[in-house]
């Protein structure tokens, strides 16, 4: 059942929130042991919350737009009193004393949190294999990765554990797993959704966004979590988004560009079946009345390089607070400095250490200008190129990921190969623009393919209109 349908039926009393939650827990009990989407299933708490919703409905209270809808939460979003680990040993057992703003908003809307989902440690990765608590598997093929870093959230939605999930996207961590798992995943404009309570990876790139099986469910969830938050200085002072009422307006007359550099003509490594799905998408959009033409964002090919300097640099600083003094487990040693080092050495996995060191290096005396400084200028270059492209186009499209889901272990030995998974998604993070992935058929291997729709800052509504068109013609409609 779609989230919109659940909320309607729960609100009207047609079905109880308890029943909805029980049905989803049943599915979780059945196949979660194979998928490992969750670090923690909060079944007991979810049932209590469901009962509370049911009693509110019984007493005639009006409920929010997500009344009784189960939702899975990426385990890097703070949930008060509920373990929040970032899939890292360094936070094992940590119970935040507060809720993230998005969690507050979800609760207000009547959503029921059903569990905390697995991720690459501190959201660093593209396969959810870098988790201290074991990898998540792709529900479409358990031998394959779900993508990452929000692989647990993508898998939870794809597996039917919950119709909705939240993830975070720093370089593609919502869109790439959405593509690999065949679900809708959205990265909003930077600042649309509050980062308060999102455990930071790279502050200037991180955004929280929804996963759903349908475009309209994703729109509804984004509406609920968006809006200005005075606790986040980078939050845009705007009202919550209103998308749902515009979803069916189509793309007639829209000018849509296909980013050449990200669609096989610029960068290598994009597989042929992904490229041909993009060609199919172009036809669908053209048939719907859009004017689709090739577009160029020349600097986008430098995105990956700039990203792998900027994100680790910010991460090296953001992850310095994990020192075993105020929270989390401690590895005790003779002095405080040695305790800090022992705690960090034992608590962080290799990928996290790699990025901390890379970022520390990029910021250190003598290298700042060559790496961090230069990358921030390249970032401007990318923004400028996008701005130029948007003079001609309303929206842009590209593949979401260069390939379909790959087997577990395929890319773990060579970090650089893994990093290339994000080549199409990173430019939007650097520019702060919204982008989403819509499932659009399958590759030769029978695994899902996602099309990425990119929009200028604040243009989520138009982006969703195009997504809705692609969804209607995707050939993998919702069962």
């Amino acid at each position: 059942m779609e989230a919109t349908e659940i909320a309607e039926k729960v609100s009207s009393g047609e079905i109880s929130a308890r029943t909805v939650v029980e049905q989803h827990i049943e599915i979780i009990n059945e196949i979660e042991s194979d998928v490992n989407a969750f670090n923690l299933v909060t079944a007991e708490k979810a049932l209590i919350d469901a009962d509370e919703i049911d009693s509110k409905i019984a007493s005639g209270e009006t409920l929010g737009p997500l009344a009784g809808v189960p939702i899975s939460i990426k385990d890097n979003l703070c949930t008060r009193g509920i373990e929040t680990t970032c899939s890292s040993k360094i936070l094992e057992g940590w119970k935040p004393p507060y809720d993230a703003t998005v969690i507050e908003k979800l609760k207000e809307a009547g959503a029921v949190i059903i569990g905390k989902t697995n991720l690459d440690e501190f959201a660093m990765g593209s396969s959810t294999e870098n988790s201290a608590f074991g990898p998540t598997r792709n529900p479409h093929n358990l031998e394959c990765v779900p993508g990452g870093s929000s692989g647990g959230s993508a898998a939870a939605v794809a597996a039917g554990f919950s119709p909705l999930a939240l993830g975070s996207d720093t370089g593609g961590s919502i869109r790439q797993p959405a593509a690999l798992c065949g679900v809708v995943g959205v990265k909003p404009t930077y600042g649309r959704v509050s980062r308060y309570g999102l455990v930071a990876f790279a502050s200037s790139l991180d955004q929280v966004g929804p996963f759903a099986n349908t475009v309209s469910d994703a729109a509804l969830t984004l509406e609920v979590i968006s809006g200005h938050d005075p606790r986040d200085s980078t939050s845009i002072p705007e009202k919550p988004l209103d998308i749902s009422g515009f979803l069916d307006q189509g793309v007639e007359g829209m000018r849509i560009g296909v980013i050449e550099e990200l669609s096989g003509k610029g960068l290598g490594g994009i597989s042929q079946d992904v490229i041909s799905r993009v060609e199919d998408a172009i036809k669908v959009l053209s048939n719907a009345g859009a004017d689709v033409e090739p577009a160029s964002v020349p600097a986008s090919i430098y995105g990956l390089s700039a990203y792998y300097v900027i994100a680790p640099a910010e991460a090296s600083s953001n992850l310095a607070r994990y020192d075993g003094i105020r929270f989390g487990p401690r590895t005790e040693a003779a002095t405080t400095a040695e305790t800090m080092t022992a705690t960090r050495t034992k608590g962080f996995g290799d990928e996290v250490k790699r990025r901390i060191m890379l970022g520390t290096y990029a910021l250190s005396a003598g290298y700042y200008d060559a790496y961090y400084g230069k990358s921030q200028r390249v970032r401007t270059l990318i923004m400028n190129d996008f701005a130029k492209a948007y003079e001609k186009f309303d929206l842009l499209i590209s593949p979401t990921a260069p390939t379909t889901a790959f087997p577990l272990g395929d890319k773990t030995a060579d970090p650089m190969q893994m990093y290339l998974q994000d080549v199409c998604t990173i430019p939007s993070n650097l520019a702060g623009h919204p982008a989403m992935s819509v499932p659009f058929g399958f590759g030769a291997d029978g695994m899902p393919v996602g099309i990425q729709i990119l929009a200028p800052a604040m243009a989520e509504r138009e982006m969703f209109q195009a997504a809705k068109i692609l969804e209607s013609e995707s050939g993998n409609g919702i069962e």
Partner: protein
């Protein structure tokens, strides 16, 4: 190391001070926890001041306003500013970075005028956050012998302004004058309580020496842990001697950070430049730039009270002395008292004496009006200086009307005709002594004058003014 006394006359000491002042806000720099750190440890904290994962800073408007006040009072240019992260691990710093300002401080390039009229350059005055407080347990509280330490984060995140002075000071006296003047400015404009003993004003001191007549600066050392004006002077004196001795013995000064030990009266090496941290400054991505509008700056400027420098000059003019002589009074915030008394025609010298010597510990219940009428009474001879002091002390203690206080002490001045009658009577009762007084040589005259004054004072119960008695005796002896 026992220091010899090198010939200080050949050398010049060059001093530049960095002063940290806690800003008088209600809440912290980046969160709404209370800016107050007596009380129960860690009770004035929140996710932001504890650096918990997911927390985000939001800048306190009042801290910015106070920083601008400081900048304007120090004749700085107020400019667009950007916060930066200063990265280093230390357990009193919860995020393992301090949010400070680096490339673009809120205030740059100003000056402060010493009482003698010399202008000392201010390089910058920027905003930053304070750290928590560490207590070393065992080993008499010394860091090297402690068996463990406790950390209280109540002070963490308290707004600070760091005022970096140019190396324009040349002596311990200069340094003390500079800090006194700065403190006086900060208190006057309501930016800080300026209490050095309580740590709300902290001074780091850069000292170097050079041969008199040379232009080039010597290698400097930074001295930390200076807790009073007294130790500031002592530390500079010690450090200058230490450096001169090293150079005179043919060695080179190593750039170091040194720690002032008040008990031992010497500085210790903390670390040398080679061991200095690589702070990896970079722009704080969780905060946006501060660009105060012209209008806001004008408004703040218009709300500034008269500054110590102006007040010093104003008072000096009113009294007819040099500004150096009025600086202590202004520092003590007693210039309204002085002006009130002077404009009531009280004797200037008496006014200065009372303000400088008798009101060092504060004015208590004394009002400027009461002070004025008291000093006028003294000027008119209604009270002796001793009596005035007594009345003044009581006014400070309990307030009240000087006339009545004087009366309650029986300090009613006698009118001169009454006094003359008494003098005549005493003369006629002691005619031999009187003749000796009239005809005696200088010594004899003095002796007899003392004899008569003594008798008269005894007769009047000490209420007569010695000066007037002497005048009467002199006049009568010449008749």
């Amino acid at each position: 190391m026992e220091l010899n006394s090198p010939d200080m006359n050949d050398w010049e000491t060059v001093i530049g001070l960095e002063v940290h002042a806690e800003l008088a806000t209600k809440t912290k720099m980046f969160s709404s926890a209370l800016n107050s750190f007596g009380g129960k440890p860690n009770s004035n904290t929140d996710p932001v001041s504890l650096g918990l994962p997911g927390s985000l800073p939001v800048l306190n408007e009042k801290a910015v306003e106070l920083a601008i006040r400081v900048g304007l009072a120090l004749n700085c240019e107020v400019q667009k500013s950007v916060f930066a992260r200063k990265n280093y691990f230390y357990p009193d710093m919860p995020k393992a970075y301090q949010i400070s300002q680096f490339d673009l401080p809120i205030n740059k390039e100003g000056w402060l005028e010493l009482p003698d009229g010399r202008r000392i350059g201010i390089e910058r005055a920027h905003l930053e956050e304070d750290t928590g407080k560490i207590t070393h347990v065992g080993g008499g509280g010394r860091i090297h012998e402690a068996s463990y330490s406790l950390i209280d984060y109540n002070r963490s995140g308290v707004p600070l302004i760091e005022i970096v002075g140019a190396p324009d000071l040349r002596s311990p006296d200069d340094a003390r004058d500079y800090v006194s003047e700065l403190r006086s400015i900060l208190v006057t404009i309501g930016a800080s309580d300026g209490k050095m003993e309580e740590g709300s004003l902290r001074v780091d001191c850069n000292v170097s020496v050079r041969k008199k007549g040379t232009e080039e600066f010597g290698t400097r050392c930074e001295i930390k842990n200076i807790n009073s004006l007294r130790s500031l002077g002592r530390a500079i004196e010690y450090e200058a001697k230490r450096q001169i001795e090293i150079i005179e013995s043919g060695q080179k000064i190593e750039q170091q950070t040194r720690h002032w030990d008040e008990a031992e009266g010497r500085t210790h090496k903390l670390r040398s430049k080679e061991e200095a941290f690589d702070y990896r400054y970079f722009p704080e991505p969780d905060l946006v730039s501060v660009e105060p509008s012209e209008e806001w700056i004008r408004e703040i400027s218009g709300s500034l009270p008269p500054l110590p420098r102006e007040r010093r000059h104003l008072l000096a003019e009113a009294i007819g002395v040099e500004p150096t002589e009025t600086s202590l009074i202004v520092q003590r915030d007693l210039d309204t008292f002085a002006l009130e008394a002077i404009s009531s025609n009280a004797n200037k010298n008496r006014v200065l004496v009372h303000l400088e010597n008798n009101l060092a510990d504060g004015v208590g219940e004394l009002t400027p009006e009461a002070f004025a009428s008291l000093t006028v009474m003294e000027t008119n001879g209604e009270l002796t200086s001793t009596q005035t002091k007594t009345v003044l002390a009581e006014l400070v203690e309990a307030g009240g009307d000087p006339q009545e206080v004087a009366k309650s002490h029986g300090f009613e001045s006698m009118d001169n005709s009454e006094l003359e009658e008494i003098v005549d009577r005493i003369i006629s009762e002691n005619s031999d002594d009187w003749l000796a007084f009239i005809n005696g040589d200088e010594t004899e005259r003095k002796k007899k004058s003392g004899f008569f004054v003594g008798l008269i004072m005894k007769e009047t119960n000490g209420q007569a003014d010695g000066k007037i008695v002497n005048q009467i005796l002199n006049t009568k002896s010449k008749n």
